[in-house]
């Protein structure tokens, strides 16, 4: 048996619904249709009252999730694409994220954002929004990179008493497979050393972890040993694991699929530079998407975001610094 990243997300939701009557799923086309990506396939059959189609009203979808949480429910919201969370942005950052601080009442909502690029999806179906949500206090932001994490972190997201932005990568939906679902999991807030190495640390998250791992494999044939840190959760950021890795390698490259300005890579480098400057043997580097909207054509798309090729180049440059 093998299970994809997408199926893991479906299974996690099935388990959450089965285990806890307070859980319900609300989003566009999630009911009988099973969701635009089929992440809720057949769930409405099993749980007809708790998998509910929503109108195209992201603001009201999130607002009502907050209200239901005030009544003790634990909603899972599917945004059809991460990009369409922007009409719900106000409720996410100004309401869900401020609720506990203002009222001391928890706001246990999980917002699933199908994120990231798949070729041909263009400017409005490809975005990665983790950095903008991480900017706001009051939100936990998860970016699972593996099938196992997609499953266990989604279950953990539902269990957390705070709003969780769950960034699931669309490219990984079908490409990533595992033998079985995990029975144990690392907790949220902890990064993972996906591959150990002594020469360079690559900090990555979500789909970029796999690009980094591919580069590590390739360059190991040349005797370059790359350590890959998978952030898993970008807020909170596991600074300790990053710092420990940089202490071992002395060199840092941080890779993110989203835009460069003020994003996750900038945050990681700021922390390493301020707290671990003396650990560094070379200036820390980063690689992001280009600062333009995400292009449609594969020729442009492949150049727009980091790839194994551009990461390998960045690593070679970093080793020469």
């Amino acid at each position: 048996m093998s299970i994809t990243y997408l199926e893991a997300i479906r299974e996690a939701q099935a388990k959450a619904l089965a285990d806890d009557p307070r859980v319900f799923i609300y989003g566009q086309d999630v009911g009988a249709f099973g969701g635009a990506f089929k992440a809720t396939k057949n769930l409405a059959l099993e749980f007809p009252d708790r998998v509910i189609d929503a109108p195209i009203s992201e603001d009201a979808i999130i607002g009502s999730a907050i209200g239901s949480a005030l009544e003790g429910m634990r909603p899972i919201i599917e945004m059809q694409f991460a990009d369409f969370s922007t009409p719900g942005f106000n409720q996410i950052v100004n309401h869900a994220a401020t609720l506990f601080w203002r009222t001391q009442l928890p706001c246990p909502i999980t917002i699933r954002l199908p994120s990231g690029g798949t070729s041909g999806s263009g400017a409005f179906h490809s975005q990665s929004m983790e950095a903008i949500y991480a900017h706001y206090p009051g939100l936990v932001v998860m970016t699972p990179a593996t099938v196992e994490d997609a499953y266990s972190m989604l279950l953990e997201a539902v269990a957390i008493d705070d709003p969780v932005i769950f960034c699931e990568h669309k490219y990984l939906y079908y490409h990533l497979k595992a033998e079985k679902l995990p029975t144990e999991a690392m907790p949220a807030g902890k990064a993972r050393i996906s591959r150990a190495g002594r020469d360079v640390t690559i900090v990555a998250y979500s789909a970029m972890v796999h690009e980094a791992l591919a580069v590590a494999e390739e360059l190991s044939t040349e005797g370059i040993e790359i350590e890959v840190v998978d952030l898993r959760t970008i807020k909170p950021l596991d600074t300790d694991t990053i710092m420990a890795s940089v202490a071992r390698t002395g060199r840092l490259l941080c890779v993110g699929e989203s835009w460069p300005w003020g994003g996750v890579t900038a945050e990681v480098i700021a922390r390493v530079a301020t707290e671990g400057f003396n650990l560094l043997d070379a200036p820390p580097q980063r690689l992001n998407a280009k600062d333009t909207p995400i292009p449609f054509h594969p020729n442009l798309w492949l150049m727009h975001r980091p790839t194994a090729r551009s990461i390998a180049m960045a690593v070679r440059n970093l080793l020469r610094l």
Binding site: R22, F24, D49, R50, A54, P55, S57, E58, D59, A60, I61, I62, G63, S64, A65, I66, G67, S68, A69, L70, E71, G72, M73, P75, P87, N90, Q91, N94, H95, A97, T98, F100, W101, R102, T103, Q104, L105, P106, P137, G138, V140, I160, D161, D162, A188, G189, T233, K235, P236, L237, R271
Partner: protein
Amino acid sequence: MDTRAIPDAISSFREQCMKAFRFMLQSRVLDEKMASLYRGGKIHGGVFLGKGQEAVSAATGMSLLKGDIFSPLIRDGAGRLAFGEPIIDAVRTYMGSALGPMRGREGNVHRGRPAEGLLPMISHLGAMISVVNGMLIGRRFKKIQNTVGAVSLGDGATSTGAFHEALNQAAVEKLPLVLVVTNNQFAYSTPNSRQFACRHLVDKAVGYGVAGHSMDGTDLKACLETISAAVAAARQGQGPQLVVATLLRLCGHGEHDDAHYIDPELRNSALGRDCLVLAESFLTEQGWADAKIIKSWRKDAVRKVEEVVAAVQHEPGPDPYKEDWSALSTRHLSEGSQSL
């Protein structure tokens, strides 16, 4: 008077009017005190009054039952009192007391007791409607019946996308939502003519497939009758109800605003009448109260406010060194306590 001769309904309506009037009066007195503290520099941040809107607001608060949901807005002092908010919550929040419901983290009208169904608004207009929808959906999951959620709004808030999305959502879900829109002719300085182009805001109801009601917002009797009918309809499962009250804002947008942009002609028109004065005449005409009784009610209202203000003035503000700087309830996931 021999009350046994009065049929129950009339007697209870009389009680309702008297009760509503006292909430209106209490709210007016509280507002006046907050305005004077503001002018005296005793209040940090803004002060927003409900002057001229007390009838609609009190009627909304009174039409709800304990256990219902009420999401008031900036001009709902009277409705808050009627729904059960203690005077001290308002004073503590305005004066920044650490003992208030918002503990100095939020001020002025951004207060509530959500665990008791009284929601603390976020500033973003229209945003509270869908939250109340969600509470009603949550209650439906929990099989709680006979519950109603009321949300208060201004005319300006009807132009937001949030209003549109939420009213449509409530209609799709057939929720027991009562949306009380008080059209006070202005949104800050913007008149109705620059806010919407429909003939009357209640015309929006049909577009959403919800029931519509409208009344003269200066008339307490009309407000009580209309809003309680709307609340009853929602409670009986007839779906969302849009209520539109028409009146004029009798104050600035906030106390920082002299409202010079309001045409004196409008102020002197029927729209500009003061609901509190009208309600007083109504009670007197009905023989339910007289000047002497009303004077004693006012005195009582003033005393209550003065007592609370005197006590709250001595309460501490929040201590920034002892503040729990965590925006998450899951403490180990919070980055807030570290200073980066």
